[in-house]
Amino acid sequence: MLEIKNLTASIEDKTILNGIDLVVPDGEIHAIMGPNGAGKSTLSYVLSGREGYEVTGGSVLFNGQDLLAMEPEARAAAGVFLAFQYPIELPGVGNANFIRTAVNAVRKARGEAEMDTVAFLKEARAAIKRLSMPEDMLKRNVNVGFSGGEKKRNEILQMALLQPSLALLDETDSGLDIDALRIVADGVNAARGPNFSALVITHYQRLLDHIVPDRVHVLAGGRIVRSGGPDLALELEAHGYAGLEAA
């Protein structure tokens, strides 16, 4: 369970998060919507531990642990996964090698046995098949020369193999055509279960047609200004964000 209490954060002395309160129970998927500059990406970076974001107040507990005190790699080991809005290219680093190294780092930190190459490739190929991705995705360098859609799918592949208990999906739908969108959504839906929760950050309702959220929150001006069921997303689609900040 993720419990965010009165979280405030700034970048270079500019306040971006202005007192966020949010609880995501195990097994639930929550959507975060909101206009540009509302602090959606900042929230995902603060939760995953990126440098350059200063937490100025509040607390974040993840399964009872103080998430904000942990290094990014420790958060990954604890089960947090960030699907990047703009996945990063790693020249010369093979995708299979990268993911296997990550999987084993996380397994090791959790006190589980490491996976050998053969076992890993077997799982990776199965995941690729499940997600209808091209097999050569494993052989290429991490995100190098990938199309926008391929990069997003690669994030979902990593999520499938790392098996996080909390996924932060930062505008994973942006720049995707409808087929890619469905693949990404299938990936998230396949992970659904009592031990998986997710924060789906998105601008658009259309992703939520495929990933039906338990709750929808509207982030504006660095605060959650409205929360509701899946219908809230439809309402926003119809009326826009105008007037929400004042609400």
Partner: protein, 483 residues
């Protein structure tokens, strides 16, 4: 499977942390007195029971050395070396072993500890090893199986005795005795090294490898390696190097000569991990090395691959002289410096004949307070019609206290030549580091992964077993460079 297990164990040892080879082995040694003069040169020659012509050759080199000054053009700094304060010969006192069974167990144990088993049954499959300890070769494995196809692989001292005609014909034919300050010094006092001869048309059936170990204190290591590939022959050769951790600097001045005849190919790989000194720059090896290959025959090929992570100072420029029509040379290099290490390294590609080609791929990684310079020469001579060169020099900076420098020299005297040079300098980006860490990798593992990615083009040129070792070595050498 034995080979894989062996490699894995080697890597485990490598990965443990820090410089793993810093131990010293207690062996009863025979030293020449400190200092350098004609008597010392004569003593070395006499110890090795050399013929008169070789003694004369050494003395000529010594006299040439006396008239020379050490080169001042490289971007390296060190206190003056007192050449009279060194031992020029150090060897285990026991008589030279005739077979592996006679090798001092303490030595076998030391090589075992280094991950270089000299017992043929335990060896890496398909790799023959010549082990050089201080001034002498202590063992060469798989000689008999190599001899069956006519390949000669032995220490150079032995080659002087057993194959004097070959040694006399080729020694100094690529790197003349008076070529440069350190080469002249080496020619005067070289003590041992490896000799390889691949007869006409033979493809050497296994990887050949020499493992150099400096053990004795206040001793210079001056090895000399000579590799000859006759027409149509091919060989892949690898050298590795380590030394104990000491507070004082030690000198290593080697010479390597390669000769490739018509359509022959020589691939020479180095994984250099001499002791680099401590984090403050105390101690470490001065590595002043001259390596040069002559592509004498038409369509011959020489390829240098080096992974340089050790030594306090590295000064080396493995080069190719492209004499044969259509011959080609290549140089793939990773040079990593951390803490106070200094590296000034690169290559020379001398195009003498028509249709010759050369490729240079250099990856320099600087961390800590280190300085890393690529220095390379591409020279196209008037007769080298349609010569081509492609050069790529990439530098990666880790932290903001280190330096990376690229100094290319291009001399073109034939209008039909094509010479390309590309250079980049980059840093490990914060977002790359965060991406890796958000997936669960520690900061150091992330840097190691990114650095290995940066070096991929070079690492893939190494024989597979050693590529894995080199990757681990890069990660270990970067310890303490981040955070």
């Amino acid at each position: 499977m034995a080979a894989i297990t062996e490699t894995r164990e080697t890597i485990d040892r490598l990965a443990e942390s820090g410089y793993q080879y810093g131990f010293e082995t207690a062996i009863d040694m025979d030293f020449a007195p400190k200092g350098l003069n004609e008597d010392i040169v004569r003593l070395i020659s006499a110890k090795k029971q050399e013929p008169e012509w070789l003694l004369e050759w050494r003395l000529k080199a010594y006299r040439a050395w006396l008239t020379m000054a050490d080169p001042a053009w490289a971007r390296i700094m060190h206190p003056r070396i007192d050449y009279q304060d060194l031992h020029y010969y150090a060897a285990p006192r026991a008589p030279a072993p005739k077979s592996l069974d006679e090798v001092d167990p303490a030595l076998l144990e030391m090589y075992e500890k280094l991950g270089i088993p000299l017992n043929e049954r335990a060896s890496l499959a398909g790799v023959a090893v010549d082990a050089v300890f201080d001034s002498v070769s202590v063992a060469t494995t798989f000689r008999d199986s190599l001899a069956q196809v006519g390949v000669i692989f032995c220490s150079i001292s032995e080659a002087v005795r057993e194959h004097p005609e070959l040694v006399r014909k080729y020694l100094g034919s690529v790197v003349p005795a008076g070529d440069n300050y350190y080469a002249a010094l080496n020619s005067a006092v070289f003590s041992d090294g490896s000799f390889v001869y691949i007869p006409k048309g033979v493809r050497c059936p296994m990887e050949l490898s020499t493992y150099f170990r400096i053990n004795a204190r206040n001793t210079g290591q001056f090895e000399r390696t000579l590799i000859i590939a006759e027409a149509g022959a091919s060989v892949s050769y690898l050298e590795g190097c380590t030394a104990p951790m000491r507070d004082e600097n030690q000198l290593h001045a080697a010479v390597v000569e390669l000769v490739a005849h018509d359509e022959a190919s020589i691939k020479y790989s180095t994984v250099q991990n001499w002791y680099p000194g401590d984090a403050d720059g105390k101690g470490g090896i001065y590595n002043f090395v001259t390596k040069r290959g002559a592509c004498r025959g038409a369509k011959s090929k020489i390829s240098w691959t080096q992974v340089e992570t050790g030594s306090a100072i590295t000064w080396k420029y493995p080069s190719c002289i492209l004499q044969g029509e259509g011959s080609s040379g290549s140089f793939y290099s990773v040079a990593l410096t951390n803490h106070r290490q200094q590296a000034d390294t690169g290559t020379k590609m001398i195009h003498l004949a028509p249709n010759t080609t050369s490729t240079i791929v250099s990856k320099g990684i600087s961390a800590g307070h280190s300085n890393n310079t690529y220095r390379g020469l591409v020279r196209i001579m008037p007769k080298a019609r349609n010569a081509r060169n492609f050069t790529q020099c990439d530098s990666l900076l880790i932290g903001d206290q280190c330096g990376a420098h690229t100094v290319p020299y291009i001399e073109c005297r034939n209008q039909s030549a094509k010479v390309e040079h590309e250079a980049t300098t980059s840093k490990i980006a914060d977002d790359q580091l965060f991406y890796c860490r958000s997936r669960g990798l520690s900061e150091e593992d992330s840097v190691g992964l990114l650095v290995n990615g940066f070096c991929r083009e070079v690492l893939k040129e190494l024989p597979m077993e050693f590529a894995v070792e080199a990757q681990k070595l890069l990660a270990v050498s970067l310890e303490g460079s981040v955070g």
